[in-house]
């Protein structure tokens, strides 16, 4: 079996380093301060390796032959003798094309436009099937955060290929959605539209319309009711804390600390 503590020697952009076997190329590069762009990668979530902007050029000598190939840095585990070029001409050329493909889906995304500038990608060189209306690059961060961290599993992908979409099952509102908006928070292109109305929070993409609870002290919104209910289930806190907005919560807490003389 693989020994995780075993160190291997690798070379990234001509820098030699010894690093635990099994570390991903992305982690290794970051530990050396070398930048590799990512979009579908998030430290807190499982890897998905779908956006492919983190591709790098790798080579390894086996039986006297040097094999060179392109692979995604976010998932590729380092092995003894691996030589990595994070920004070779081949990588630059292909990364540029990938960014142009992604731009065709989300032409106005600041994150993408920033990458485009960095790698000389042109907006508008390609046209996606929805002409960029969805703004979604199908990185699946929203799906993973909802499944893995929030553990709601309210969204997933439907259809195949260019018709693929992130949706709720059958496109109907799901009672498992607590309106936490973590999906919108992790979305790199701002494709998830969260709208705060007077007494309601809507996440348009998921057809979610959730009632908001207001602070019993100051009347400011605290959050969606279902969200607070979920917190109640998961955390063991004094009941009244759930009915307060963050500011009022702090006030009460301070009082509580003073009284107990802490």
């Amino acid at each position: 079996m693989m020994n995780e503590d075993e160190l291997v020697t690798i070379e990234i952009d001509k820098i030699k380093t010894r690093i635990p076997k099994g570390t991903t190329v992305l982690q290794a590069a970051r530990s050396l301060g070398i930048y590799i762009p990512t979009l579908c990668y998030h430290e807190a979530l499982s890897t998905y390796a779908s956006c492919r902007v983190c591709i790098v050029e790798m080579s390894i000598e086996k039986r006297g032959k040097l094999r060179t190939w392109i692979d995604a840095a976010c998932v590729y585990p380092v092995q003894e003798g691996l030589i990595i070029k994070t920004n070779s001409p081949r990588v630059q050329k292909e990364r540029k094309l990938i960014i142009e493909m992604l731009l065709s889906r989300a032409p106005d995304s600041p994150a993408l436009l920033e990458l485009a500038e960095l790698y000389g990608a042109q907006k508008g060189r390609f046209e996606s099937i929805d002409k960029g209306e969805s703004n979604c690059i199908l990185c699946s961060l929203c799906v993973r955060v909802c499944n893995e961290l929030i553990k709601s599993g309210g969204i997933g992908t439907a259809f195949r290929g260019i018709h693929k979409k992130v949706v709720t099952p059958f496109n109907i509102a799901q009672d498992v959605c607590i309106g936490c908006a973590a999906c919108a928070y992790v979305c790199p292109t701002g494709a998830i539209r969260v709208i705060e109305e007077e007494s309601r929070l809507s996440i348009e993409n998921w057809n979610a319309k959730l009632e908001i609870q207001f602070c019993k002290e100051c009347g400011k919104p605290v959050g969606p009711k279902v969200y607070i209910d979920k917190l109640k289930e998961e955390l063991n806190l004094r009941d009244e804390l759930y009915e307060l907005c963050p500011q009022c919560r702090r006030k009460i807490y301070r009082k509580f600390v003073e009284v107990s003389g802490g």
Partner: protein, 635 residues
């Protein structure tokens, strides 16, 4: 012991038990009275085998005649076919039978004679070599192996297909079936089995060509329990149906192969992932599994040993990508059928993160035969790097459409011109597409290459699962690339950017070229995108998706250039890029084209050469096909 459904069957525990079933099978295959077996695989049924079966059933109901069904013999083009077993004689195969011809044939068969019409040939000793019987050769009827289509074939995987009744386990046993498994359980350690498969040089027949023995060895050594074996029967390449023939014609061989594989790696649980679009195969497999269980050849304590193994059927939901191993496993788990990265191999962490061996139908079907004859015999067939045989479905512009099993290393020319009988209608050969939608098109100057894994890769195509589409001079290679890309765009799972967006862009460019809107630089852009898709895609579907584009550019670049620069389609396929014109001095003004034109686009009086009004012409090609004087050309 009876083998009727409602009777508990005696489980097969020993060689003696198996011999008893073999004898029963022999009597089923070669009964004492006249037997007619209709080839009723999907291809047969499509050409009316059901009707033939019902007709014969009606004709013979009061007579001492046995009616059976069989799978497909391979020459699908000449179906419906029946195998006629007159006691004491080699079976004779009749092709293209109809209810009319049968009215004549059946009485002659009853009287023990053969009407010499529609005869494909007689099946010789190779179809009963395991049995202690002697049959006479019906006089004046050639051996089927003398037929050009069968002559150069070497049947290992398809040896039973089209001959035995696929629903009868005893017929499979009569052909030597399950003796390999018995031999393995009695005399082999798991390591011995793996060694045997390693030495045989068997490589995965699903397309990848990975050495099967190596896969098994790694899985055997992997930590984790339970271990799984999977049979990939999600055959989805357009025009390919090799696996279907085995599933419908000789399904027990797949089960026996999987059981041997399970014993080798230490697994007790297997899955067959079969596409739902193969309802007959699914039904056949269900029967196969329940028959094997009933005879103690699947389930607890197989052959009375302490080895247990069972198989479940999983039906695929129609996604081509689920033929990719990791997507297939995700699908069995009930997840979205998307591939994942394979830096940790499926032999270590496959189905449910457990060590898993996945092989294709044809690979599994090879296993019992390797054990029966020993690897020494198997390695005699094939080339240095590709041992054994490969089944291809030979389709397209070819005289003999059908399934062929060839020894690896045969020349492409032999396959197309000797086995396939060449190009029909006096047309010229243009290219052959191998390897399924992500394969490549091979031009005429490579016809003398050998067909094996490595040679096909060298010319920019691949073995794939065995689709072989022959194209004649009237095929437009840009349009061919466009067609395969349209398939791949539909079938990409959409997970990674290069495959999802890249193949779509390739398709859009090809579409624009075929519509006459090609621009300077399009070929270069196609190449640039293709390189990126090959390099950066996540799974093999994406990595090979540009092959149809790259191989057609490589061998038919001038055709692309004519489309883009001259706005002409030399093959006359892309409607925007040619016109139908009447050749004045050939036109006899017979008026036939004018009469048939649905657009009233043809003008002309009696005795005056006709003329096509291009503004009204929709290029349907009816005039071109009805003209008796070759007076209409595509320019």
């Amino acid at each position: 012991m009876s083998i009727k459904d409602n009777v508990i069957t005696k489980k097969v525990m020993s060689k003696e038990d198996l011999d008893t079933l073999k004898e029963e099978g022999k009597n089923r295959i070669f009964p004492d009275s006249l037997k007619i077996a209709v080839q009723m695989a999907t291809c047969g049924r499509a050409s009316g085998a059901d009707k033939i079966y019902n007709f014969i059933q009606n004709e013979v109901k009061d007579k001492d005649i046995i009616l059976e069904n069989a799978g497909c013999l391979g020459l699908c083009q000449l179906e419906p076919m029946v195998n006629v077993f007159i006691p004491g004689f080699n079976p004779v195969v009749y092709s293209n039978v109809s209810t009319d011809t049968l009215k004549k044939f059946i009485p002659s068969w009853i009287s023990g004679t053969y009407i010499k019409e529609n005869i494909l040939g007689q099946l010789g000793r190779e179809y009963y070599e395991e049995l202690d019987i002697r049959l006479k050769s019906p006089p004046g009827i050639k051996k089927i192996t003398e037929n050009g289509f069968f002559k150069k074939q070497k049947k290992i995987v398809l040896r039973n297909s089209g001959f035995i009744n696929p629903f009868q386990i005893t017929e499979y046993i009569a052909r030597g079936g399950y003796y390999s498994l018995l031999n393995v359980l009695n005399n082999f350690t798991s390591e011995d089995v793996i060694e045997e498969i390693l030495k045989s040089g068997l490589r995965g027949r699903g397309g990848g060509g990975f050495p099967t023995g190596v896969k098994w060895k790694y899985c055997r050594a992997a930590h984790g329990s339970p271990k799984y074996v999977i049979c990939n029967a999600d055959e989805g390449d357009p025009g390919a149906y090799m696996d279907r023939a085995v599933l419908e014609g000789d399904p027990f061989s797949i089960l026996e192969g999987m059981t041997i594989g399970a014993y080798a790696i230490g697994s007790s649980e297997g899955y067959i992932y079969v596409r739902s679009e193969y309802p007959l195969a699914v039904g056949t497999l269900r029967n196969t599994i329940s028959e094997a269980r009933r005879h103690g050849l699947l389930g607890e304590n197989i052959f009375g040993s302490d080895f247990s193994f069972d198989i479940k059927i999983n039906r695929g939901g129609g996604a081509f990508v689920c033929g990719e191993s990791t997507a297939l496993m995700a699908s069995i788990e009930g997840k979205v059928g998307e591939p994942r990265v394979k830096h940790i191999h499926t032999v270590e962490a496959g189905l449910r993160e457990k060590p898993t061996v996945l092989n294709n139908v044809e690979t599994w079907a090879n296993v019992p035969k390797i054990i029966t004859k020993g690897y020494e015999e198997y390695v005699k067939i094939g080339t240095e790097g590709s041992k054994g045989t490969k089944v291809f479905s030979l389709v397209g512009n070819i005289s003999n459409n059908g399934l062929v099993e060839i020894p690896m290393g045969i020349k492409l020319r032999e396959m197309i011109f000797d086995i396939g009988g060449g190009i029909p209608n006096g047309k010229k050969f243009k290219a052959v597409q191998t390897g399924g939608p992500s394969g490549g098109c091979i031009p005429e100057n490579h016809l003398d290459m050998s067909v094996d894994f490595d040679e096909l890769t060298k010319v920019g195509s691949m073995m794939g699962s065995g689709g072989m589409i022959v194209m004649d001079e009237n095929t437009c290679m840009v349009d061919v690339a466009r067609y395969f890309l349209s398939f791949l765009v539909e079938e990409s799972c959409g997970k990674c950017t290069p495959c999802r967006e890249g193949t779509y862009q390739l398709y859009k460019i090809l579409e624009r070229i075929t519509k006459g809107d090609g621009q300077e630089g399009d070929i270069e852009l196609l190449e640039e995108l293709s390189e990126m898709i090959k390099d950066a895609s996540l799974c093999a579907l994406g990595k090979t998706a540009p092959n149809p584009v790259l191989s057609t550019i490589r061998y038919f670049r001038d055709e692309y250039e004519k489309h883009i620069k001259d706005k002409k389609c030399p093959a006359g396929v892309c409607k925007a890029l040619f016109e139908y014109r009447i050749i004045e001095n050939k036109c006899t003004a017979c008026g036939l084209c004018k009469k048939h034109c649905p657009q009233n686009a043809i003008e002309g009086e009696k005795n005056v050469p006709h003329r096509i009004v291009q503004e009204r012409c929709t290029k349907c090609g009816i005039c071109y096909s009805v003209c008796k004087f070759d007076a209409i050309e595509k320019v």
